[in-house]
Symmetry: D2
Subunit: 362 residues, 4 copies
């Protein structure tokens, strides 16, 4: 096997950063050699950097912290040495991302969970298996910006499952419009400040700031085309209502789609089930064994039972039915793991794909 | 004040029956004189009929059991003497309702939470303040069936808030179609068997058997007209996805409506806020002070915070916005208390209205 | 009726401050004339001071904000004019309390939810109905410190229900030792930062920083005596394990007590039920109709069903049984509303009592 | 490897039966060759026997159903052919267990989750690693009852973790008495009827019928000795308060122990950590890598984070501290997976141990 690519994880002490570490533990292609965080953590061993003053370890994943990572000395994100680094996985907050990711991108490929660059005209929002043709915008980005590397932001976690299920419908039947109501888990809000038990126990919060705009805009960009080095968003109206529910992990989405071409429920199920087979043949380390699992049991998908399908990387669909209101209407529910496929582990899969496409050669 | 009407509560030992007792405690017009349940309870004092063999009292309301009701001897529902009874509030299961409600209706007005008669061609599904014109179907029913009384089933608890918010939109702008995703509380499933904590904790169940069909059919009937002694359902497509969420009480519904006439968000809010003012002027005992409360705060409505508005009888709306997909599309969320306005207390308000309209005279 | 005492609420914009406002709304003896908070809020109307920059109102009580309070201009706590103020209800954080409460106490009676002064040798931790004899320490405090007023901190919310149930046992049978395991609600941690849904959903957290020490120390002080102007703590070992559970409001405590004198379960129930009758005869505005409600039903007390007994001011007890390990052992469970009797409303009741004892005269 | 023992799982369609199937899937020593349930399921393939009339599959484990088991034809428990069966894993209800387990025991070793035989004078309640010396009561049982096989009931799920942590303390320091308050998960109540979300959401139920008696009695038997072919329960008073909390899986227990010999916190931690090392060396298939995991972090154990330690077979302990009330008092919390180590998987481990001890030879 060829040499492993050298990886830095930035924003490594936060929840998303820790999820990167879990996704990268024992990775066959990527080797974590540097961890970076804020000035407060700089100079400490990672294991010490995530301890509170009272000595409590703030490790927020179910999977254990790799002892190897525990001993790495943390750099300050703003002064991280880039020599020898091929890839930066960035879990920075949006403002820091805006400032630092371009610095890293001068020499490295940056895969980010931040939204800072999602809406730039030369930056694709790649979802592995969904919009492969957008990858060539990396060349445009490099030319425009004089980078040797690039920045590839992942989509908003609510968009991930939506785009994955819309893509095969788009290819097979064409998309006219989509309406959805989301029931999003508390992990989507992170931990700073995060959702208080006082606010969500026995309750639903019917609003998530800026979420609906992101869903609408990102879905259109991801499902659109690249023409003449420019993004042409799909002409598909999207209308979203996003809510927060008392669920720990995984977003559930109730979707109503208007297709261009009439399709039966069985046809829809078939294209969903068949989606991504070629992509998956390539055997990426972080990929699930199926992109979309479709249940016939009407009591599924359920977030607690289906979120870990495919190691959290499979989008699970159920209740595919005809909709009586929209032209060629189809409705279904989906469950997507917002902190696996919808965040760090999804970004790692993207990196595996970009690597396979040769963007780290030479 | 005139004499109080004599009331029997049937199915009195179950949850819905108990909610009738709470709604009727201290009622200015109705006096509970008889309680009935299954043969197993017959002959016992009510307070004893709701005890388990181990002596545990099975009273499932937050409000206390009235000491007056506690001492009433329970009749068997199938043999309840009807002499002197003006009104029967029925919380029977569907099969028993089908058989017994017509017996009671020979001489009394029956207000029921069961679905048994909802879809009969001469039986209206009355919601106070919403479809007053349907009340005259009582005359048709009496004529058809030779009853001195009548049966008036309340709507499915998910329809109540929906119909209340659609009615003013219908009157002001016309309705073309409606799509909704519901997030329904566990109390909607009752207690036999009810929703297990094992199934709903940290979870969503995406299916409620037969619920979507009821929502679609009942909404169309309630918002329709009576012409020539017959129901003409509204021509409005309804498409519902109904889910169960970990919330104790109150259904939350994410609604997308296509109006016939373009309306601004402010116009929609105004007609919602103004709805029912004339009806409420009559000062019914169980009525709230407003039919619909509209929040401007985008973080509302929340089921835990808004379910008890107006004593559980107000429908609370928020996040009224334009929808970009449907023609003249408007979207909003609503919260409606499924076991108050959506069940027993709603039926009591209906009885108050029917009483005011003179159907118990002579 | 005599003139109302003039009241300031300090720390008024936080959760505990808001609970003071609810407890004081429409109060027959106390009139809120001043509200104070941090410099950031100073100069704003209260209604504006509790809005986020995005305009969302941060009112955290189920009861509505009184319109009268909404319009009061907020002072800076550190510069609040004390002229005309008889009483200060303080919801300050501990550090600010340490600094500011003595300033207020120069001229006013300060009732505080902060722990800053609880362990001072001349400051009692008063619980109405429990340790009346401690009230005379106010005179000592005044003499020691040259204050015209005084500072009266309320107990830790976990101690309240414990001390209320131990006091009658102490009086009737004597106390040797007490062991308890608490299951505390998330509201006990407040909102800054508060308990995250991510941490407590489907979970228990077995530790609450410094809580056990407070329980042990405060219980001993409250149940102790005042002799020669000094506190003599009760000689009773206390051993506590304090945990956090997924409950919104009310602490549940599993208590094991060793009595000095053998007592039967029925005797224990009787002294608990009889407790506080004389105190309650005085008819204080914020007092419940019974200090302790004792259930015979083994399935009670339950925090959701019992927390609002007596307007949140009654301690509810159940499962009184003999304990086989401790000498003259008795065990029971209690539920106590941590943000009513255990916090602001309890402090208001204390103020009513201190007022009745003449400490605000002349 | 020697031939695998032939196994029947009885009560196979219920939750505990399904957990047996999960624990036995791919087992190196045991081969499931027969499944039995009630007459209603008899004659159907297992996969069909667990479907509702509406076709919904009632499989209640997170782990998938093995396709091999899915195709086995279900026998009626009361008429199951015993030829060739070495072991019966029984998940029968108590009444059926009382009747049928002796029939199976005539020729096979029966490992049961039912309580039917727990209190028989010649039947041990074996916990692997805890009370090995009790195994020889199998000989007594065989002699008394004329069985070639035997019945070995597992302990109540609340006792398991308690006994595992008490045993090393008993061996090292002696036990005088133990007091505990349990916070038990909803899965402990099973599914028929199970705990309703309506009853436990935002709540605690302070009573579990008959649980405290079982804890007290079984702990004394398990920690006792076998002398002259008879059980001599340990002389240790046990006082338990058992509650139900809104947690899905794993019981949390707050334990206070009085030791015979004074021991420091560090000594206690050490004996807990060292417990079972010899037993584990034997490398049983279902055994964890450590019997007891002791946390130093005071925020642990937490049921959601610690229940799956050691594949659900490790008991996790934390907050080991001195107790100030009991003589030589020590207190700690433990988390134990009630449906893994505390039920079916624990019974399978017991079977592995009994097999290693030679009870299935010849």
């Amino acid at each position: 096997m060829a040499r492993k690519l050298k990886v830095a994880v930035v924003g490594a002490t936060g929840v998303a950063g820790q999820q990167f570490l879990v996704a990268l533990d024992g990775h066959p292609l990527f080797e974590v050699t540097r961890l970076a965080a804020s000035a407060r953590s700089a100079g400490k061993k990672y294991i010490d950097a995530i301890k509170t003053e009272a000595g409590q370890m703030q490790w927020h994943c179910n999977e254990p912290l790799s002892p190897k990572f525990a001993q790495i000395k943390v750099d300050e994100a703003a002064r991280m040495p880039m020599n020898g680094i091929d890839i930066v996985f960035s879990a920075l907050e949006s403002d820091a991302a805006k400032q630092l990711e371009p610095v890293y991108a001068k020499t490295a490929g940056v895969f980010s969970t931040a939204s800072a660059f999602r809406y730039e005209p030369d930056v694709p929002i790649l979802i592995p298996g969904v919009n492969h043709s957008h990858i060539r915008m990396i060349d445009t980005m490099r030319k425009n910006r004089g980078w040797k590397g690039f920045v590839l932001p992942g989509p908003n976690c609510t968009v991930t499952g939506l785009a994955i299920t819309l893509k095969p419908l788009h290819d097979a039947f064409g998309l006219r419009s989509v309406m959805l109501t989301t029931m999003q888990s508390v992990s989507g809000a992170g931990r700073s400040p995060g959702v208080l038990a006082l606010d969500i126990t026995d309750n639903i919060v019917p609003y998530i700031s800026k979420e609906e705009e992101k869903v609408e805009k990102e879905a259109q960009k991801i499902l659109g085309e690249v023409k003449g080095g420019q993004f042409v968003p799909i002409r598909m109206d999207v209308s979203a209502t996003c809510t927060r529910v008392p669920v720990l992990e995984a977003h559930t989405e109730s979707v109503f789609v208007s297709l261009k071409k009439k399709a039966s429920v069985e046809q829809v199920k078939k294209v969903l089930r068949d989606f991504g087979k070629d992509f998956l043949k390539k055997g990426f380390h972080s990929a699930p064994d199926q992109m979309i699992l479709v249940h016939d049991d009407p009591y599924r998908p359920q977030p607690r039972l289906d979120r870990d399908n495919g190691g959290g990387m499979t989008t699970t669909v159920g209740r595919v039915r005809e909709d009586s209101v929209l032209p060629n209407g189809i409705k279904y529910l989906l469950v997507s793991h917002n902190t696996k496929m919808g965040a760090a582990k999804g970004a790692v899969l993207t990196a595996e794909y970009v690597h396979a496409e040769g963007y780290f050669r030479g």
